[in-house]
């Protein structure tokens, strides 16, 4: 049964926000409701936001009242970003359990949960490519891994008890990209990538677009069971460092790694302690089940890292935050959605060009890039920045190749957005 009315938990997170954005542009989808305790970070058009903690009773009421048929859980912590064990546990277990309880009470037909490849663990005796049937390595090493195992067990039990509900678990590889916070990302953002002496682990990545796409795919299709979400290709860490044009420095010794990592942290270099096993053994995923289900991954691991590279090069120019500086204002949102005057205007204005939100001062920073570099970074820009760059370029150097590339990208985005 296709999903028409969807509830997303964690609307304020990157995944919840981006998934809502993608779903609301689908005319087949009737309703998107997002819940979170924090303000949404993404500008959304028709997604309705309810500020509530994920507790079973209010959730069940929302689900019943809005006739929700699909719930999507995007808040699972799965990147070992160094939360304390208790906090991780509170987030994972509580949120997922209440979601399941609410789902059971109100009888939804589909539950989609974003889990993480960290579920499998990482170690010496791991297969080179984890398939969905591979049991996680014995003895979970990190708190996140332990919680993920619990959550997945709960989900399996739920699926067994409610045969008519489709339970999808997406185990995603590391995502690195703008706006995200993950241990992998903070490691790869260091000027020098610290490694463990004598180890070159295999790492795999998934592009954020593919992650959102896979979530939307799971909403649109019926995919019972677990699915690995990972880009094609497993890279050696040295390869990743090479792609990012950063040196890989084996500063951590193979023995006493944890102790040294602690000392290195004291020196002010944020080596993520939760990643030490991955720095040693790495992990590869078998993504063939997802591909066979009809999802076409758009980016390989290598291309994901190349994207990260262009983002990292641009950060000094564009600043780190969202280019729009979007802030959620309940009254404004209310006005934008409900006011008849706005709704009438929206139809008439659908093809007008939005005004550039970036000042000329930032545009000037592009001047330091050569034409070749500019062409390389343009596809990774946010639409608003691209518009600003176009204005700057038209007013200044007006190189035809750059202008043509921007226009082409803008057309492409417009056609994919519609």
């Amino acid at each position: 049964m296709p999903s028409r009315r969807i509830l997303i938990t964690g609307l304020a997170s990157v995944w919840g926000g981006r998934l809502a954005h993608q779903l609301e542009s689908d005319p087949e989808v009737e309703t998107v409701v997002g819940i979170d305790t924090a303000d949404p970070q993404h500008e959304l058009e028709r997604t309705e936001f309810v500020r509530t903690p994920p507790e079973p009773k209010p959730l069940a009421r929302i689900i019943r009242a809005a006739g929700i048929d699909t719930v999507v859980e995007t808040t699972l912590v799965g990147d070992g970003r160094g939360l304390s064990s208790g906090r991780t546990r509170a987030i994972d277990l509580q949120a997922t359990m209440s979601l399941l309880e609410a789902a059971a009470r109100s009888g939804v037909s589909k539950v989609v949960v974003k889990s993480s490849a960290e579920y499998y663990g990482s170690g010496r005796d791991a297969p080179a490519f984890f398939t969905e049937d591979t049991p996680p390595l014995r003895r979970p090493r990190t708190p996140v891994q332990r919680e993920l195992a619990r959550v997945e067990r709960a989900l399996r039990e739920y699926g067994d008890e409610h045969r008519d509900t489709t339970v999808t678990v997406l185990r995603c590889a590391s995502t690195v990209g703008g706006g995200l916070r993950s241990a992998q990302l903070s490691l790869l953002s260091l000027p020098v990538i610290p490694g463990i002496l004598g180890f070159d682990p295999r790492w795999q990545f998934v592009h954020e677009d593919d992650m959102v796409g896979a979530l939307a795919h799971a909403v649109a299709q019926s995919l019972p069971g677990a699915y690995n979400v990972a880009g094609d290709g497993v890279l050696a860490l040295s390869e990743v460092a090479g792609l990012l044009s950063k040196p890989l420095l084996p500063v951590l010794p193979p023995w006493g790694t944890l102790f040294t990592a602690g000392q290195v942290r004291r020196l002010g270099i944020p080596v993520p302690v939760g990643l030490l096993r991955e720095l040693r053994y790495g992990r590869g995923l078998d993504n063939r089940k997802l591909k066979a289900s009809g999802y076409l991954l758009r980016y390989t691991s290598r291309e994901t890292v190349l994207k990260l590279r262009s983002q990292q090069r641009l950060r000094p120019l564009l600043g780190s935050g969202q280019p729009d500086g979007y802030r959620y204002e309940p009254e404004v949102e209310e006005f934008l959605r409900r006011s008849p005057s706005v709704q009438a205007m929206q139809r008439a204005r659908s093809d007008a060009t939005p005004s550039p939100s970036q000042g000329q001062g930032q545009g000037g920073a592009y001047g330091s890039l050569t034409e070749g570099e500019l062409l390389e970074v343009i596809p990774s820009l946010e639409t608003a920045s691209m518009l600003a760059l176009r204005d700057y370029e038209a007013a200044g150097p007006a190189r035809p190749a750059v202008l043509a590339e921007i226009d082409q990208q803008l057309d492409l985005r417009e056609s994919t957005d519609n």
Binding site: R124, D125, A126, P127, A128, F129, T131, T134, I196, L197, G198, F199, D200, R202, G213, A214, A216, H217, A220, Q221, S222, L223, D232, G233, V234, L235, A236, E239, P254, G284, D286, N287, R288, K291, A292, S293, G294, Y295, L296, L297, R298, Y299, T300, R302, E303, L412, T416
Partner: protein
């Protein structure tokens, strides 16, 4: 130059179109075919495979040390290389001897030098090896794969690669020189079972020379009991190597359920043993061949 055969699937890359929303393959026409088709495509810019095998490191070692050992130090003489199939998966089963994994390296080098398709050989080694700092990393870059059943199945069945295994028991790896070329029992029968499951031929390989090239100096007898350290020699002696690739054994019999995996393993072991004895008997000199 190692040559990686292309996978069945097309090249990967960014595709302009979004994810296809074609329905899931209900009914699963043939999961095996699907699994093979969905393998990641080749990215020509990369020089490291998804297994961590590095073309550059391999080429470097191959052109220097490999070349020297193969042509001048051990003067490898191989027969029956054509028994290794030109395409598709194949499991090479060889006798192990010596302390260094010289034999494995030379089998790989032989196929690269003499075989018409010059296929890369993956060596299945215990996972403990990949946990050794430095050495494990180098081994992975040279094509060593931890012998996890899932790894071997993927290599043999899905990717159609050549995998080399040494199924002799590891319990008593310390072998006196007097009992050289006497094969231990094959205690790891899963190799045979996996080959049957993947439906690939098993090519027995008899290796002569490895026992003399890297003999054990201590670790045997009374001294070995006192000193747990086993002393090998740091540099392999220049014994002449002879490799004989035997007729492929099709594990179909096992699949039909007519023969148990232990019987088939015993057959293969017997074949290698027989050939080894013959090769030893025909050999004039350990060093000159």
């Amino acid at each position: 130059m190692p040559d990686y055969p292309p996978n069945d699937s097309g090249t990967a890359g960014p595709t302009a179109s979004g994810p296809t929303t074609a329905g899931p393959t209900t009914g699963e026409p043939s999961t095996e075919v699907v699994r093979r088709e969905q393998l990641p495509g080749l990215e020509p810019e990369r020089h490291i495979t998804d297994w961590g095998r590095s073309e550059r490191v391999e080429h470097l070692v191959d052109a220097t040390l490999g070349h020297f050992l193969y042509h001048y130090w051990h003067r490898v003489e191989a027969e029956g290389v054509e028994n290794v199939p030109r395409r598709g998966g194949a499991l090479l089963v060889a006798n192990r001897a010596g302390q260094l994994r010289l034999d494995a390296a030379l089998v790989g080098k032989t196929i690269r030098e003499e075989h018409a398709a010059a296929r890369p050989v993956h060596l299945a080694a215990p996972p403990a090896l990949t946990d050794v700092p430095g050495l494990g990393m180098l081994a992975t870059k040279l094509g060593v794969v931890p012998e996890h059943p899932a790894n071997l199945l993927r290599l043999l069945d899905d990717e159609g690669q050549v995998v080399l295994v040494f199924p002799e028991t590891r319990q008593e790896r310390v072998k006196p020189l007097s009992s050289r070329y006497r094969l231990r029992s094959f205690d790891r029968l899963e190799f045979v079972r996996l080959a049957a499951q993947a439906g690939v031929p098993i090519v027995p390989v008899a290796i002569l020379g490895s026992e003399e090239a890297t003999p054990l100096l201590s670790g045997l007898g009374l001294l070995g009991r006192v000193v747990p350290l086993r002393l090998g020699i740091p540099v392999p002696l220049p014994a002449r190597f002879r490799l004989r690739f035997l007729q492929p054994v099709r594990p179909d019999r096992l699949r039909n359920g007519r023969v148990g995996s232990s019987e088939l393993a015993e057959d293969i072991r017997g074949l290698i043993q027989e050939n080894l004895y013959e090769m030893v008997a025909n050999r004039n000199s350990v060093w000159l061949g």
